[in-house]
């Protein structure tokens, strides 16, 4: 137990130190991390919508205006288009602001990092107008409630969440020999099944085949979003429903096991089977070690986490404990380059800046290359220095740090600030460069761009 442990805990496993935080924790950094496990906070803010509200909002507010615009019955098309864009942005803006504000103020940074890891593992992205409203809701409704629960419960909540069903097209997948399939000539959409196996459970080399993908796709048919047109009951509208009329009937063989029984139970049974597969423990442990410890984690770290996953039957509280007790967890040399969001959050925390304005926040996140809920693919955001630390990315960080320093001005006091937020991680060369800088602004830029601040 040392102050260096605390400095590492705050940066490698947390969201960066605020002034005073290092002193408060003293040398109890490891305890500080452990005590956070299980304590999930909820982002607060105005205009936050549930997934159901987002879907209803899309159908009642967005779609009619879009239809009018397309019919040519809108009086001022230019204004209507702007209004449509505003309606879509309103959905993500509130969620991004609320979750960022929580990260900026929380005293339990490990929890926010843990939530973001899983949110990224089950990534959904704002790729279409409905997703612009829906994507931010999955983290709130599926990830946070199960973040320290059992992996299989998290898996079920995420795969069957309306945002996932829509994003990976399961909502429109139809069993070819189901009632609706035969009548309307519709069929399977493999997308959710493939990504569930590849990205969420076994991993691409986890030992499944194209036949397993098709079997899982068939098992998942019927899980869709309640819709008036499909004559779902009013309390089902905008929620996940199981509709047997589009479900592919019969038993399926998934990874050599026969899955039969009540139509509605088959997909949950299949998902629980995937959650318990040894490849899943290995895949999840590798991703966790890569995210928290090193781009190329040691086999011992992965094994430590995978063992905890298997021994606890996927109890994520125990898995979280394994992450912070892995052999390499507190190695002194930082092995990770912060993601843009981690960088932005740690910067604002370090400077103790007041509440952010949404416009500035979004513009900064966009300039740094990571707007939340906008990951480039279902694989989520990348997680290595090769992906985040390119020349242009570094230049964009420098532009950002420089601009921030310019705005904060002389009040920054970087010489005093540096040991406060980096503690024993502060290198002599950085302290010296700050001391010799020509202005407080320049000193602050050097602090925010120092290797030990860019890395964690």
């Amino acid at each position: 137990m040392s102050r260096l442990d605390t400095a590492i805990a705050l940066t490698r496993f947390g969201v960066g130190a605020r002034p005073g935080e290092m002193d408060r924790i003293g040398s109890a950094g490891r305890d500080w991390l452990r005590e956070q496990i299980g304590q999930v906070e909820t982002p607060q803010g105005r205009d936050l919508r549930t997934s159901r509200e987002a879907i209803l909002y899309f159908r009642e507010e967005y779609q009619p205006r879009l239809a009018a615009l397309q019919d040519g019955t809108t009086e001022d098309p230019e204004r209507a288009r702007t209004e449509l864009g505003r309606l879509l942005r309103s959905g993500s803006a509130a969620a991004i602001l609320a979750r960022t504000q929580l990260a900026l103020t929380t005293e339990a940074g490990f929890v926010e990092r843990w939530v973001r890891f899983w949110s990224n593992h089950f990534s959904v992205s704002m790729t279409s107008p409905p997703m612009a409203l829906l994507a931010p809701t999955l983290e709130m409704e599926a990830i946070r409630p199960h973040a320290f629960g059992r992996f299989e419960d998290l898996l079920l909540a995420a795969e069957l969440h309306p945002a996932m069903l829509f994003y990976l097209d399961n909502a429109s997948s139809v069993g070819p020999t189901s009632r609706a399939g035969r009548r309307r000539g519709r069929g399977l959409n493999e997308n959710l099944a493939r990504e569930t196996l590849e990205l969420h459970t076994l991993g691409v080399d986890g030992g499944y085949s194209q036949d397993d993908i098709v079997a899982l796709a068939r098992l998942l048919t019927g899980w869709t979003i309640g819709n008036e047109r499909l004559r779902h009951r009013s309390n089902q509208i905008g929620r996940t429903v199981f509709d047997e009329r589009i479900h592919e009937p019969g038993a399926q063989t998934l990874l050599g096991e026969r899955i039969s029984g009540a139509a509605e139970d088959k997909a949950p049974t299949a998902l629980r089977q995937l959650a318990r597969h040894p490849s899943t423990a290995q895949f999840v442990a590798t991703k966790l070690a890569r995210h928290f410890i090193a781009d190329h984690p040691d086999a011992a770290d992965i094994a430590h986490i995978a063992q905890a996953f298997i021994d606890s039957d996927g109890d994520l509280a125990q898995v979280a404990n394994a992450v912070i007790t892995a052999p390499g967890a507190f190695q002194p040399d930082p092995q990770k380059f912060k993601t843009p969001e981690e960088y932005l959050v740690s910067t604002v925390r370090a400077l103790n800046l007041p509440r952010l304005q949404m416009r500035a926040l979004r513009a900064s996140l966009a300039a740094l290359g990571q707007v939340p809920f906008r990951a480039p693919s279902p694989a989520g955001w990348p997680d290595t220095e090769a992906e985040w630390g390119g020349p242009d990315a570094l230049m964009k960080r420098l532009d950002f740090a420089n601009e921030l320093a310019r705005r904060v001005g002389a009040s920054a006091r970087p010489r005093e600030r540096a040991p406060e937020i980096l503690g024993p991680r502060l290198e002599g060369a950085t302290a010296l460069a700050i001391a010799r800088s020509e202005s407080a602004e320049q000193g602050l830029t050097l602090l925010l761009m120092s290797p030990e601040f860019l890395r964690r």
């Binding site: 790729t127 990976l168 097209d169 429109s172 997948s173 139809v174 070819p176 399939g181 519709r186 069929g187 399977l188 959409n189 493999e190 997308n191 493939r194 590849e198 691409v204 194209q210 513009a363 300039a367 290359g369 480039p376 693919s377 694989a379 220095e385 090769a386 992906e387 985040w388 630390g389 390119g390 020349p391 242009d392 990315a393 570094l394 230049m395 964009k396 420098l398 532009d399 950002f400 420089n402 601009e403 290198e427 060369a429 950085t430 460069a433 800088s437 020509e438 320049q442 830029t445 050097l446 761009m449 120092s450 290797p451 860019l454």
Partner: protein, 388 residues
């Protein structure tokens, strides 16, 4: 299997390796060098539906298999094929003999994961260590400088040869003094030091280019246009790079992809506009430019249950540019009579053969070196006479 008459496959690598091009090994200047050429590689991420871009309209089963996705319009390019109606700039390039089309092509990757498929496309091998373009750069003397458009260097460019990344920004630049102090501060962190040095160098070439000058509408068009404009401006700048890589996302059309019109048509239109910008922006450099445009794999021949297509195998690749001897289809065409695993277009051609040919003919690299160092998993024949 149809073999397009206009192309002759190289008989074997050995025959070429003894030819004039192979006289120089790495480190020895070739008759043609990479330094007086421009190469652009466009990666269409998400698996573009090759059968929508290059339509095998002459196939007896085309309409039966594609049903609602079947495209009625388009530009006739002969031998039963049409280009999608939104690809007007590409069709113009076809008419100018500046476009080569390679149907039914796939990399050595045979599964259907986007992420592994893109890794294979960029690494050129099953074992992912570095990018094939970077390995090719290591064979060139002098080295053309290379840039990935965007914040990071894409995998295809990563490796021992220097490669930078650049995209337009919105914030004012820090002072030179701050940058030089930062370079000093990175003395103990070689990785950051090298990265910053490359960034500074590319920024100098880009001059005052900023987001404001990039223009573009909304939707996919805006991102594609900005990327193309950034690439063109950099490539055309004095001391600009000789190699640029552009990544254009959004081709994973699982739902309602449309046909002549619709989601995929709009995206193809945006892509076509971006290619026009690239050509116009390169201006005087265009006659010495080749643009390779590829995707990780094709999509299912039949529509899926939701009016889209799922992950498939063979797709379409494009080679475009003033340096290209185009106006033709190359490679083998397997037809739609039999499908790979009863779902995908049969992979009849190797995308790596197209890469190999461009590196040999545009950059003057020896095919034997390419076999040994760049595509060790897939040595062998390439195409011939694609670049003038």
């Amino acid at each position: 299997m149809t073999r397009f008459p206009l192309h002759r496959r190289a008989l074997m690598t050995g025959a070429l390796a003894t030819g004039a091009l192979a006289l120089g090994g790495p480190g020895i200047a070739h008759a043609r060098t990479a330094s007086d050429r421009k190469l652009v590689v466009v990666i269409l991420r998400g698996a573009m539906d090759g059968l929508a871009a290059l339509i095998p309209a002459g196939e007896a089963r085309y309409r039966e298999l594609r049903r609602d996705l079947a495209i009625s319009g388009g530009f006739d390019v002969g031998q039963g094929f049409r280009l999608h109606p939104r690809l007007t700039n590409l069709y113009r390039a076809w008419g100018d003999n500046e476009l080569v089309l390679l149907p039914a092509t796939a990399t050595g990757y045979r599964e259907r994961s986007h992420f592994d498929g893109q890794d294979y496309l960029e690494a050129g091998t099953a074992v992912i260590r570095d990018g094939w373009l970077n390995r090719a750069l290591q064979l060139t003397r002098p080295n053309p400088s290379a840039v990935g458009i965007g914040q990071t260097v894409p995998l295809i460019l990563r490796g021992n040869a220097a490669a930078t990344s650049w995209s337009p920004g919105v914030l004012p630049d820090p002072s030179d003094d701050t940058i030089s102090r930062l370079i000093d501060l990175y003395a103990g962190d070689p990785r950051l030091a090298e990265t910053l040095a490359m960034a500074v160098e590319t920024d100098a070439i880009a001059g005052g280019m900023s987001m404001a000058g990039m223009g573009g509408g909304s939707g996919p068009g805006q991102a594609y246009v900005q990327t193309a404009r950034a690439a063109a401006n950099l490539l055309a700048a004095p001391d600009g790079p000789g190699l640029a890589v552009m990544s254009l996302d959004g081709w994973d059309t699982h739902v309602r992809q449309g046909s002549d019109e619709g989601q995929l048509a709009n995206r193809l239109g945006a892509l076509d506009e971006a290619l026009g910008i690239l050509r116009d922006g390169l201006a005087a450099h265009w006659p010495r430019t080749a643009v390779l445009m590829v995707t990780e794999f094709g999509r299912t021949v039949r529509a899926n249950g939701s009016g889209g297509t799922d992950h498939g195998t063979a797709g379409t690749a494009f080679l475009l540019g003033g340096a290209v001897r185009g106006g033709r289809l190359i490679g083998d065409w397997p037809g739609l009579g039999t499908l790979h695993e009863d779902r995908d277009l049969i992979p009849a051609n190797r995308t790596e053969d197209l890469f190999r040919t461009v590196l040999a003919e545009h950059w003057g690299l020896a095919r034997s070196d390419l076999d040994r160092h760049v595509f060790p998993d897939q040595p062998g024949a390439g195409f011939e006479g694609l670049i003038g």
